[in-house]
Symmetry: C2
Subunit: 221 residues, 2 copies
């Protein structure tokens, strides 16, 4: 039975990878730079996205795809209120987004008028790592209160990253977080990983992150 | 293909439930009270467990089963250092513990000399909710920095709880956390849920939690 199960999972992954490649081709054709934001629940995905919108608008237009396990539109409503188009995916309890869900969501966004698409994955440090969505960069938001040992405990998600955002830097004085130990864990799994320490409360580091995004725009000028 | 997949998953869940029932019968026969601690990564599962050991020892003996997605023994080492037997389960990247893993772990613990077994599940607010381990109580550790909207976004895990621990109360002054909004979300999903606000930093609330555990001991006197 174990072998049977592995075979089925492999087939699903292959189908996902094919759809992910189609998503990427579609985003490339539309001149859109896209990122897949992953994080533990409550690390600050939506806060970073709202601050990113604020830093880039009105010149750069962002679309957001919000992944949630339940039919709540809390995050999508915030993005819409910030003036950008958002699509909500309710996974119905599933623990990650997949490429088929993103394909459907792209159909609901005005691709011709967007420069960047940000996908907010389901809050989960384990499952999303295995599913390619067809985006150009995988971004993890870690946060100070989660603790400095997370790279050691959740290595798979760190291995596949293009960018790491370390959020809630404002809480550093109140928490026993060893920055060197954290960095050492990250470096071991993903040498030279681009890292932005930020705080959505104080604004620290957010312009450096916005500059990184700007430098990856596909439609210049 | 969808139907095929659902059938396979249902069979696995049924097998899990049968093993869970066997685990519970075995724990009952040994006079052990057991809990399944679930949480988002970094909510403070290990800190709560270490404080619980401190509050209950030497009169009450705890065994701990540590679930990790990687072969790191950071948490198991801390429990062993605190003087209690610990078994580590490495899920090999899997996102939750299941009853078969617990069955194996129970074989490695000195059941005859334990009063309580605490299982620390993989840090994940989605997947563990669906897997009965055969324990007597499901406990969630939420934490202040995760935000007040988590019950609304991860309802499934809240629905199956027997106890909620709200950790990191010491960070409340530094974080925009609306306690009423949080409580309202919990009450909607799980009316009357027993809740312990605690801080592993200041010690607040931990004795009330330890008293709850003591009141559920199966071997009295």
């Amino acid at each position: 039975m174990t072998t049977q199960r592995v075979t089925v999972v492999e087939k699903i992954l292959n189908a996902n990878d094919q759809l992910a490649a189609q998503n990427k081709a579609r985003l490339d054709a539309a001149g859109i730079f896209s990122i897949n934001i992953m994080a533990s629940p409550g690390a600050g995905k939506t806060s970073v996205i709202l601050n990113t919108i604020k830093a880039l608008m009105p010149d750069i237009r962002l679309g957001v795809i919000e992944g949630d396990t339940a039919p709540v539109t809390i995050d999508a409503d915030k993005v819409t209120a910030a003036g950008m188009p958002a699509v909500q995916i309710n996974t119905g309890g599933d623990c990650h987004l997949d490429a088929a869900m993103i394909k459907d969501a792209l159909n609901q966004l005005p691709l011709e008028s967007l420069d960047i698409i940000i996908i907010e994955n389901v809050g989960n440090l384990v499952c999303p790592a295995a599913w390619d969505l067809g985006t150009h960069a995988n971004v993890l938001i870690a946060s100070i209160p989660e603790g400095d040992d997370k790279p050691y405990k959740y290595p798979n998600i760190y291995r596949g990253l293009d960018v790491l955002i370390l959020n809630k830097m404002d809480l550093l004085p109140y928490i026993n977080f060893n920055t060197d130990y954290f960095k050492q864990g990250v470096e071991m799994l993903n040498p030279g990983l681009i890292t932005f320490p930020v705080s959505c409360k104080t604004g620290e580091g957010l312009s450096a992150w916005a500059d990184w995004l700007k430098s990856h725009l596909k439609r210049k000028g």
